[in-house]
Amino acid sequence: MDFSFFGDELEEEAGKKTIEEVGEGYRNIWVVGQTAHDALLPVTLEAMGQARGMADQIGVYVYGVLLGEGVEALGETMIAYGADRVLVADDPALAEYQPELYVKVVADLVGQYRPEILLLSATELGNDLAPRLAQRLNTGLMSHCTRLSIDMSERLLVGTFRVLGGEVFHTVVCPEARPQIATLQPGYFRVPYEDSNRSGDVKRVELNLAGQAGRLAWIDMGTTVELPPVPLRKARIVVSAGRGMGDADGFALVQKLAEALGGVVAGSRGAFDEGWIGEGQIVGVGGQLITPDLYVACGLSGDIYHYFGLQDAKFIVAINPDENAPIMKVAHMAVVGDARQVIPAMLDALG
């Protein structure tokens, strides 16, 4: 399909109307995609699925946008995942992420084509890029959206995101400024099916990066940081061991699970008596009263002396072979099984 007339039409329009006219003249839904290792990121596919669904609702086109070096070939993949047209900015200058360069490229394209909606993923790159881009375009940004929809009566993008530690959702719209930009929180949107029968147009855009260099120098892509330890009373995620873990090897599984979840290790009085944890890691009567968002009790019976310490935990997961153990009655997720087997399986599932 040949879309070349489209740009001409818009340019004609622009000459007749003031650019700043609100809402008018902005059409189509864009997805700024991300790639790695010669493939589109799963988050980009999620955004594509969402864009396609909304575009079908309003009756507009989906444009994919790719920036980088050697990414042109992935334009076809974006078509297969729902794009009608893909604009590819393929240039060595874009091989590494540079905030100002990426903003310039996308902003220039936006100025040229005027999408009504622009979607990015709330990835490391997206979180860095989207606000700067929105500021350049003097438009609103709904960040970390977990839900998007179209208000058909007003033709507005409706974005919902979490606040207050995820306990409350806020829903907003951007009534006048264009484009309406949103970043999508990874994992909240369905990945669509790849349809290699879809056809569309992949256009490599001409870039105007005259004399502009990015200000970031990426020095070392594989360094490490040492994070300060999180005290138990402040930990949001706690993985706790009871005597049911059996021995030091069993306890090591608990430590691995804590690491995989980004949490802190704790335990019952029994775990302390076994010598696996220190006194400062006891939860319950001999130790601390904690209020984590997630508490995973492994091989713990959870009598009152222990439960006392976690009664204000928001979400309790218990893994215990005995389904009548006290902890299983108060857990939000009671997993009947041997933690020594369930934890390794969980580690696999977590990836």
Binding site: G140, V172, P175, W218
Partner: protein, 259 residues
């Protein structure tokens, strides 16, 4: 080196209970605190100040008159100066308006070598202030920083990138946003706490002081409503370890308890 830290005052979440079953937010105790992102930013700025000769840290807060307390706390923790940007005209401000106001204040202060903000605020978590400010001021930007140093007019930062951490360099002036968990805040010295309220001054800058046109303060986003996740219902899982584990991990993700 002049370092400016935007500071946000929020309602203390410890005084708030969210009842999903009642779909309501109950404010049991109305107290205000400095948000955790701002505290991490102040900490990062103070560490930088200690590592270089001759640096000053200035705290700025856009808010209601009571945000004065947040700035007094910033002074007590170690900032050298603080300014409150407050005006009735700022009442409906969203993020874009806030950035507009902050940028005006920063310009009034003659710009900065470094702006340090939290990666996101601990209440709304939008994470937009840093990069927006960087664009408004045409500064370089590095977000989600876990380690930070300045030398010879260059900023060196370490940030998560592609399943690892990357070290990047950027020229000053720059905006950095810092990870909350990387900069645990220090305690304020008792004497500074006393002085913050008794001896020191927090000037208030109004819309007019900042030379802002009230017409430019219209928010771009419009609030449609709040909603709540469903109440947590207890579930039991049983079966072979592999399938049970899959179910549990999926359920945890569905419940948005883990990422």
């Amino acid at each position: 080196m002049k370092i400016i830290v935007p500071v946000k005052q929020i309602l203390d979440p410890k005084g708030i209970t969210v009842r999903r079953d009642k779909e309501r937010i109950f404010i049991n105790r109305e107290e205000y605190i400095v948000d955790l992102g701002s505290k991490a930013a102040i900490e990062a700025a103070l560490r930088l100040k200690e590592s270089v000769a001759d640096a000053e840290v200035i705290a700025l807060s856009m808010g209601k008159p009571q945000a004065d307390d947040a700035l007094r706390e910033a002074l007590a923790i170690g900032c050298d100066a603080a300014y409150l940007l407050s005006d009735k005209a700022f009442k409906e401000a969203d993020i874009t308006v806030t950035v507009h106001i902050l940028a005006a204040a920063i310009k009034k202060l003659g710009g900065a070598d470094l702006i340090v903000a939290g990666r996101e605020s601990s209440d709304t978590g939008a994470g937009q202030i840093g990069p927006r400010l960087a664009e408004a001021l045409d500064y370089a930007q590095v977000t989600d920083v876990y380690a930070l140093a300045v030398a010879d007019g260059m900023l060196q930062a370490t940030r998560p990138w592609a399943h690892s951490y990357a070290a990047v360099k950027a020229p000053l002036p720059a905006v950095v946003t810092v990870a909350l968990e990387a900069f645990p805040p220090r305690y304020a010295h008792g004497a500074r706490i006393m002085s913050a309220y008794r001896d020191w001054n927090v000037p208030v800058w109004t819309c007019a002081d900042l030379g802002l046109d009230e017409a430019a303060l219209a928010p771009l986003l419009s609030f449609r409503g709040e909603s709540f996740p469903p109440p947590i219902e207890a579930e039991k899982f049983r079966g072979d370890p592999a399938s049970v584990a899959q179910e549990v991990v999926m359920a945890l993700r569905l419940q948005k308890v883990i990422g």
